[in-house]
Symmetry: C2
Subunit: 371 residues, 2 copies
């Protein structure tokens, strides 16, 4: 694995989270831990490095870790394409992060694609399948964005042209996907067609993905935004300063419960108490039809250190971190929570808008993943 | 104003937030900005220094800033005891922080005490009145704690002796008062009588008073506790890991709406959604009978910098701070929110427990402050 600081990419998305050049047997990822203060790319040439990148959150975001997992399996098969090698690599990658379902979905998909092939054909097929997952994710983002844009247009019409205030949480943006995001896709499209828009970005403790990733993405695109602490959400809604909340999802259960970054459930409660629409943006690979309710979703508990120490840029411009409590303070760090389906106003998917879980099922009847 | 690092005080409370030695024409305060990493005391000898200490949050917490304001007025009268001097100092101190009502209440009380006196008697009377406010606050804490303890005993009885999990927010502890706190008073008493107790401490962005003050206080007293990010509250309640929430208040309106640290309203919503009791601890000076509802309470917006930069201890042990977003990121920093009375399960006051706003009025009928 090599690391190098690189300049901005001139592509449609200025900074791509994941790049796989055709024919190359490695991938390049943007190290999201260094953002927004530095743009650092990592070249990943071994399955262990892919697993590390997911585990340590060099890459994060449910769709993105799915794609990186798929490429990771291709990397593993380059070295050992046996049944045992496939099984071991699948298990190792699957264990890196437990909550998002996209990772398992992508790994299963690559495995299903290659399992019946002779070993010497497996790696090539895995690269192809990973590329397909990547390309499909870009298309999912675009379709989902178009449907979400329609909701934003309705909101603007209701607001008689004044700027609309949309709140988001964590980062369900370009940096969480292969394309231009899930929750942010409608925002980018709205801004592109000059809908007057302002975004409330909640910082998203403990890792501050709102402050470091979403605010940074919005800035790259010139979309007006304001950063707030996570617990300001309810007040802003009570003041009438939020017209809609739009968040991503790491896993959605068959009953429509939504597992997403810690703090999402609280935002949904605040939205309900103040009659603010609460929208969840999810591509279909995020739905887990095998789970009846959100209570069955495994909630990842990450290291206490993420709560106790905060990483950022110190005044001299270098990276640093500060402790917020005395050494030895016990801390607990659940990374996700579950928002009950009853609090969701709309599900925004690549196949259209669902007003409730029944309509979500209807939209995805043909895409069920084997329940 | 002089600063000096001092060792721990051996008093009942090991670290007192405010000290006034009899006959001395200055006060000493604990610089809460340096906690938990350093114990630094400030001697305050001029009204301007008192105002600065409140404004810059060397001292904070509604009851404590009331007392420091009262002493500040005494300091002002030492130099200029004229009507104009009294009026100017009252206005300057009152403007330091707009949300908590205790500051205005304490300033008005000192002014009422001295206004009719000849100028040469005013400073002495002001010191006396400030001392009385201090002493009364200690007694209020104790009485309030006793009533809150009864609620905790009930909870333990319901839980059949297993440890109870109480969540608090920000710091309504000894460091927010002259005594041993409002929200924490029942906790300290419960721990003293060996009620099995564990406290969830929410860190309280942006200034981290939960992490730096409450966790620190609990540790001094040996009370088991765990630090979590603010937005973990709703998940913990949904998991059944919280038996009660207890918070302080900066101002309570006549209809029972509670203004407190940003994030309190969200916790109250999560408590309601999960049938967790939500208790507000408030001494009577925190009630503002002149305001019909919480919507009339002025919400302080502090500097964006508190959101954008986090202060703590760097690895070499010195104080430092890190930026969490790129320079120039817009941020908004409301310091308080308003929890509607309908979400409050119990008001804990020094006169007893109120189950709703009518019973709060009944308890305080004789203590109405002129409505």
């Amino acid at each position: 694995m090599s690391r190098s600081a690189e300049p901005a990419r001139p592509a449609g998305e200025r900074y791509r989270a994941l790049i796989h050049e055709p024919g190359v047997k490695s991938i390049v990822v943007l190290d999201q831990r260094a953002l927004p203060h530095a743009v650092v790319h990592q070249s990943i040439e071994h399955v262990d490095a892919a697993a590390d990148a997911i585990r340590s959150m060099v890459v994060r975001g449910a769709p993105l870790i799915g794609a990186v997992g798929a490429y990771g399996l291709a990397l593993a098969l380059e070295r050992d394409a046996s049944d045992a090698g496939l099984s071991t690599a699948h298990a190792m990658l699957d264990a890196t992060r437990p909550t998002a379902v996209n990772l398992r979905w992508a790994l299963d998909r690559v495995r299903a694609r290659v399992a019946a092939l002779p070993t010497d054909a497996r790696a090539g097929a895995a690269w192809q399948e990973a590329d397909t997952i990547y390309t499909e994710d870009v298309a999912l983002n675009a379709a989902l964005g178009k449907h979400g844009l329609a909701l934003l247009r309705d909101l603007v019409a209701q607001r008689e042209g004044r700027a609309i205030n949309v709140m988001t949480h964590c980062n369900a943006g370009a940096l969480a996907t292969c394309g231009f995001g899930t929750a942010t896709a409608p925002l980018f499209l709205a801004h592109a067609e000059r809908i007057p828009l302002h975004v409330w970005v909640s910082e998203t403790r403990p890792r501050m993905q709102g402050a470091s990733l979403t605010a940074w993405e919005l800035r790259q695109h010139g979309i007006p935004h304001t950063l707030v602490v996570d617990s300001a959400s309810a007040l802003l809604m009570r003041r009438g300063d939020v017209d809609a909340v739009i968040v991503g999802a790491d896993r959605v259960a068959a009953n429509g419960d939504v597992c997403n970054k810690i703090g999402t459930y609280g935002k949904a409660l605040a939205a309900r108490d103040n009659a603010v629409p609460f929208w969840v943006a999810l591509p279909s690979p995020t739905i887990d039809w095998t789970l009846d309710t959100g209570d069955e979703i495994p909630i990842e508990a990450r290291a206490a250190d993420e709560v106790l120490r905060i990483t950022g840029r110190v005044d001299d411009g270098t990276a640093g971190r500060v402790s917020i409590a005395t050494d030895g303070t016990p801390a607990l760090n659940y990374a996700f929570d579950v928002t009950p389906a009853r609090l969701v106003s709309r599900y925004i998917t690549e196949r259209g808008i669902a007003v409730d879980v029944r309509s979500l099922h209807a939209l995805h009847r043909n895409g069920s993943r084997g329940r």
